[in-house]
Amino acid sequence: MQGRTGDHACVLQVRDLHVTFKADGESAEALRGMNLDLRQGEIHGLVGESGAGKSVLLHTLLNLNRGASFVRTTGRVLYEERNLLELFEPEIRRIRGAEIAIVFQEPAKHLNPGLTIEEHIRDLLRYHLGVTRRPAGARTAELLELVELPLRVLRQYAFELSGGMQQRAMIALAIACNPRVLLADEPTTALDVTVQRQILELLLRLRAELGLSVLFVSHDLAVVREVADRVSVLYGGKLIENAENSALFDRALHPYTELLLRSVPSAAMRGRALNVIPGTVPDATAVPPGCAFHPRCPIAAERCAIELPELRAHHEDHSVACFFPGQLVEPAGRQG
């Protein structure tokens, strides 16, 4: 088995996951052999640009892929010694929302416009816990307190709430049935910075209070740097680097990660040109052979275009899928 679990207890393990879609008659492999460990109690940041496979991964974890364009999934998603991909619909349904819950990017769109917040929560309690009317009332009140929303919100509809309150309501739904795992799909991307800060703090507090393990997907490196314990980088449907937060941000080993970090503008970079990665992220219908990043990589060798680098432990707790890890030269004048 690839991927070390080490001494850490993992709640969710992804093994050699492939997901194929059909786009304009062409077959597109959105995930091409993903491996990922979500450890107990951690916030695991998942970083990648559009098309890297972040959302597909989240949907696949809950076995939610469907529709005319979906072709197939292979591989394993292990949760409590079961492969979620092999479960029948009624079994996986008991896990969705109850044991593995999800928070989406745009709460306004992901809440039903015809239901109040209370009706949303009630439905979850009823179907997952079989809780009837009266005890449900106590639980809904408790949930609102947890996410710091006033009780009046229960009778309101999503469109009556601000973006931040909608996201709190979404989170209340997600934690309603005491899940072990929380999947967060760009939960603060659509929010203003001050509201984003509040939501991030809420997630950190809930993680501590409820012992959640969180898979935090974002394209925003700065946000991930602030909240994640560990970080994984996705490129071309594969995980290319995985490390503890500071290790990844201070000593990235994969050239893509390193270049991506250097391309983020900030006050500290004033007066210097941003580092640019030439080209664009590969389309899932035409992922380059070998290392998917090689056409854009400044240190790519012949080998990179032919052989596929596997994700390997480079040193303790830091894995990378590259034949030349850490060999990208530091640009002049860069401070650590």
């Binding site: 809950l62 939610l64 005319a68 619909e89 996986i92 349904r93 008991r94 896990i95 969705r96 929302g97 109850a98 819950a101 999800i102 989406f104 745009e106 769109k109 992901h110 809440l111 039903n112 416009p113 015809g114 239901l115 439905d123 979850l124 179907y127 997952h128 509809y157 469109f159 009556e160 739904l173």
Partner: protein, 308 residues
């Protein structure tokens, strides 16, 4: 429930619409060139006869005065007397309208009963067998004019099979074929609307979210998606009801049913203007009323509007 302000606003609009319709009818009949008295009396009538008729009809008075008395008469449902039947128009309408309304209501109910489950089934299994059959039905029923469908039904089920009576309105069995004819045509339109509206809802993010929350599929379909998918159906449904009122004119003719439609049609042939006026106004008022109810239903089902 809709707020009082919303209700009053819609009620105001309803009244304004009815007012506009009656005024329009007045303009068409009295203000536009053409002398009703001359038309009624006939080309060979002499000038004295016409003048007498003008006085009787009141068309010799100033337009403003005519308009006011027209409005007050209309408000009292006094549409005058039929030239042909020589009875008050309002009595004629009162006799005929229950049949037309029950025909329309039954056909509307039938159309809904057919279109809702079928449209949902088509949307849930897009491009499946049910979807193709449903689309085939919809195409066929929309292509066929109602009267043609009615005649086919008559031929098949009344003439050949003899299951239903040919014409008349004596028993409930007499109404089966006309109701089916009307219902099928309306269902053809509604089923497409339900299907597309439902597909649109099922593709929305909140449906994905409900699945991700582990809710059962029937709950997601019916409680979540269908509820929201019905909103456009309410609005279009009201317009379809208007078509039913119009469609019943032809259907009543085909099945020889003594309804408002037939009354109107024969009145048009006979140039029986008071009946035409009364019939047009009553139909328009019923249509506006149905739209008013649809507006209220729409707002009751849609919290965004309700809150305004």
């Amino acid at each position: 429930m809709p707020s009082l302000r919303f209700f009053l606003g819609k009620l105001g609009r309803l009244i304004a619409t009815i007012f506009a319709i009656t005024s329009l009818v007045f303009i068409v009949l009295r203000v536009l060139p053409g002398d009703p008295a001359r038309t009624i009396a006939g080309l060979d009538a002499d000038e004295r006869e016409v003048a007498a008729l003008r006085a009787e009809l009141g068309t010799d008075r100033p337009l403003g005065e005519q308009y006011l008395s027209w409005l007050s008469a209309t408000a009292r449902l006094d549409f005058g007397a039929s030239f042909f039947h020589e009875r008050p128009v309002v009595d004629l309408i009162r006799e005929r309208i229950p049949l037309t309304l029950s025909l329309s209501v039954a056909a509307f109910a039938g159309a809904l009963v057919l279109a809702l489950p079928l449209g949902v089934a088509m949307a849930v299994r897009r491009w499946g067998a049910v979807d193709y059959l449903g689309m085939g039905f919809s195409h066929a029923a929309m292509a066929l004019p109602e009267f043609w469908l009615a005649i086919l039904l008559l031929l098949g089920f009344a003439v050949l099979l003899g299951w239903f009576p040919l014409f008349g309105a004596a028993t409930p069995r007499h109404f089966v074929l006309p109701v089916v004819a009307l219902a099928l045509s309306r269902a053809a339109v509604l089923v497409r609307l339900v299907r597309s509206s439902m597909i649109e809802e099922l593709d929305k993010e909140y449906v994905l979210a409900a699945r991700a929350h582990g809710l059962p599929e029937p709950r997601i379909r019916y409680r979540y998606a269908l509820r929201n998918a019905l909103l456009p159906v309410i609005t279009v449904g009201a317009i379809q009801f208007g078509y039913l009122l119009g469609g019943s004119i032809v259907i009543e003719q085909v099945f020889s049913l003594p309804g408002l439609g037939r009354l109107l049609l024969s009145a048009i042939y006979r140039r029986d203007f008071p009946v035409v006026q009364g019939g047009v106004i009553v139909t328009a008022v019923v249509f506006s009323g149905v739209n008013f109810i649809a507006d209220l239903l729409y707002s009751a089902a849609n919290p965004k509007i309700r809150m305004r």
